[in-house]
Amino acid sequence: MKVAEDYVIEMLHITKEFPGIKANDDVTLQLKRGEIHALLGENGAGKSTLMSVLFGLYQPERGVIKKNGQEVKINDPNDANRLGIGMVHQHFKLVECFTVLDNIILGVEETKHGFLRHDEARKKVLALSEKYGLKVDPDALIEDISVGMQQRVEILKMLYRDNEILIFDEPTAVLTPQEIDELMEIMRGFKKEGKSILFITHKMAEIMAVADRCTVLRKGKGIGTVEIKGMTPQSLSKMMVGHDVQLKVDKKPAKPGAAVLEVRDLVVPSRQHRNNAVRGVSFDARAGEILCIAGIDGNGQTELIYGIAGLEKVTGGTIRLQGKDITNARIRERSKAGMSHIPEDRHKHGLVLDYTLEKNLVLQRYWQPFFQTRGIIRQGTVREFSEQLIKDYDVRSGRGPVTIVRTMSGGNQQKAIIAREINKDPALLVAVQPTRGLDVGAIEYIHKQLVAQRDAGKAVLLVSLELEEVMNLSDRILVLYEGEIVGEFDPKKTNVQELGIYMAGAKRQGAGGKEAAK
């Protein structure tokens, strides 16, 4: 009896099936009072499903949930709420055009004669925000505040409802390094208060930093629960992936060839402000090398790539691909000229989410004579082609070629995009944050693919915000700051600290990145 009481929440032998896939297969998770418990697993391992079961969004086929040793039934998020369970979703559930305060009280509004009573709510929110160091402006509109602050609003929502079991679903995916540190501090604060935290992630560093224990899922099955003390990032990765993982990319020295992409004095306007987002950038991307654009988010990387890929009109400068001027070419022309593009936002650009996997796999080439005759799609060819790609790139999905892409896990969606773009056999592969939000296994795979493309003599232009990735993968680094190239580096002769100084704009080489233009 005593043992059972140690656990505030127990999920015992949970099984949840979806058509064609067992998302959770006899998974057990026990959360102690006042601990930070990490839930680790690759994309598609079933972490989100398990948490959705706990939060009442899904009903499990088998298994029981206990709170304080008592069996409970959670039919919907309101039940979860009554049991003191709160969740910060990976994609925030906020009303954009409401204020921070209105979002926090939404659903539990106090009213008097049918009118909202904002004053007391405001007092409570301010007190909570003070107590836990969650800085927010209660009267700001959600659409105007940063992602970090939106997350604090989500956390305040849980606290406002006096939840004591807090679920964080991939909370750091959208945060800057500083914001991540703050969040870790806040989580430690909750722990001190006696709240219990479930923390879904696949970032080893974060688990090592805050978690007490960790439950690992792999392909829907519970692999085990371990104390973090005594574990290393390597041993955790191994548990998660099932085999040893190389956290370091293994690659031979680059043999750069001729310039494939020549960018000269490129100017791209900004959608956000009146100034130009890219201000006179010049560089070459050469065959057989991975050229990396590093920089803090929002320094013109997105617009630079939009300009190169043709998604945004450039207002100055020239772009040449394999000697051909493509400055004002249509997107299709650029694609034909040998450009592949793994876009930053796979949901917005990379995929037609309600199309099937096979249709998405031919998105860049359905018009080629191989796939159509006189405008009629050759369905048999499309099927064969997509089955081959699915096999070659190990794209996992519930129903193979006819799976609706929206239902696939993020990692497999990304794999599908990478399969499609690499299979085009491009001269230039543009990859923007290709590993964002992915787990170690998928990251390793994608890194290998990029290196393989380089070794096959392709020019790879990589944009990444993760310095570790930049250092590991690139053969040459350009740092972008406020739309200009402020330095060019050889990853073997620099370090993260030096890059950081340039990324922050505290220093620049020569006048406006002179070396970079060479």
Binding site: P19, E61, A309, L311, R330, I331, R332, E333, R334, S335, H341, P343, K348, H349, G350, L351, V352, L353, D354, Y355, K359, L363, Q364, Y366, W367, Q372, G375, I376, I377, Q379
Partner: protein, 369 residues
């Protein structure tokens, strides 16, 4: 041996079941409304509504005749839906199509097929404006096309009233508030009955080849959407304009093309209806309902072009049945009942959800047992 799929996974069957169940519920509630309006004649009225369509070849001919323009308007709305546009302007395109057809028939004395082509051109012309505004200025197509419905109606009124030759009074009749009867003005513009159809429907004055043309159009649209690269592009734009752009698809061009095709379909509907020779275009004071009736037809079929054939027949059947319920029921209460039935029939999606849930529960219980 082929393994039978369990019901829970057979999406097509569930959809069909859901449609049938929602239609039944609609009829039930329609019957309750009948009871409230006129209890004495309710049973008789319901029987008239459900039986009339099949009661004689003539009535069934009327069902087919009215189904053709409904089907095309449904196709117009459904096609635009599939490409991410809400074409609420089918009515205006239909009106312009009708005018072009009648102008061709009466003023230019063209044969029926040329008039139908003109009707399509007219509808397409009217559809291009919402498309252009949407593509280049990002003006919501709903607003533009509603405005264009009214513009179409008054413009056609104006043009007809000011074209003496097109009026009935120029062709031996006395009234000048409507277009000439085609039998007097240009018998060659009246749609042929078709050899087989004429045999099948003996004496029906309603039957002509319009239903065949409409069904052919549905098959063509289905083929375009499902089998061609053009349809692939249109639907990609409809699902995600940004992803389509990324893939090198000219999204703006697709929006315009889609509206042009949707307009041509609605225009053809107008041509088919008024070239039958049984109706004359009367100067209107409100936007024609036919285009709007295309919306439930499309919804009922979940925008599937082939499904539209059946939903159009259903709506037409109910309408023909309804018109035979007078004088026991006023035309207004008949319209209410028809609306109730169609409205509930559009609940198919909800029904589908319920069926799936019920099946899941049953499975769960069986798993426990």
């Amino acid at each position: 041996m082929k393994k039978r799929k369990p019901l829970a996974e057979n999406a097509a069957l569930i959809s069909l079941l859901a449609s049938i169940m929602s239609i039944l519920i609609g009829l039930l509630i329609g019957f309750i409304v009948l009871l409230i309006v006129n209890p004495g004649a309710a049973v008789e009225g319901m029987a008239a509504m459900l039986g009339t369509g099949f009661s004689s070849p003539d009535k069934f001919g009327k069902v087919l005749y009215q189904a053709a323009p409904l089907l095309l308007c449904g196709l117009s709305v459904g096609f635009a839906f599939q490409t991410g546009l809400f074409n609420i302007g089918a009515s205006g395109q239909y009106t312009i199509g009708a005018f072009f057809a009648l102008y061709g028939a009466i003023v230019f004395q063209l044969p029926w097929w040329a008039c139908l082509l003109l009707a399509m051109v007219g509808g397409a012309f009217w559809g291009i404006f919402p498309g252009l505004f949407k593509a280049f200025f990002n003006v919501n197509e709903v607003i533009t096309s509603i405005m264009f419905n009214w513009i179409a109606m008054y413009l056609v009124n104006l043009l007809i009233a000011n074209t003496p030759m097109i009026l009935a009074s120029a062709w031996g009749a006395t009234n000048s508030d409507r277009t000439a009867a085609l039998a007097a003005a240009n018998p060659g513009a009246i749609l042929p009955q078709g050899y087989i159809l004429a045999r099948l429907f003996g004496g029906s004055t309603w039957i002509n080849i319009s239903i065949v043309i409409a069904i052919l159009a549905a098959i063509v649209i289905w083929f375009v959407l499902v089998k061609t690269t053009f349809g692939y592009e249109l639907k990609a734009v409809g699902n995600s304009k940004e992803a389509a752009r990324y893939a090198g698809i000219n999204a703006n061009r697709c929006v315009i093309q889609s509206m042009v095709i949707a307009g041509a379909l609605a225009g053809l509907a107008g041509g088919l209806y008024y070239l039958a020779g049984t109706v004359q275009y009367v100067l209107e004071k409100s936007v024609l309902a036919m285009g709007f009736n295309g919306i439930p037809v499309a919804l009922l079929a979940n925008s599937n072009p082939l499904g539209t054939i059946f939903s159009a027949l259903f709506v037409s059947y109910i309408q023909v049945g309804g018109s035979s319920m007078q004088p026991n029921f006023s035309s207004e209460s008949v319209d209410i009942i028809i609306s109730v039935i169609i409205y509930l029939a559009a609940f198919a999606l909800l029904m589908r959800h319920i069926i799936v849930k019920l099946l899941a529960k049953k499975k769960e219980r069986r798993a426990k047992a």
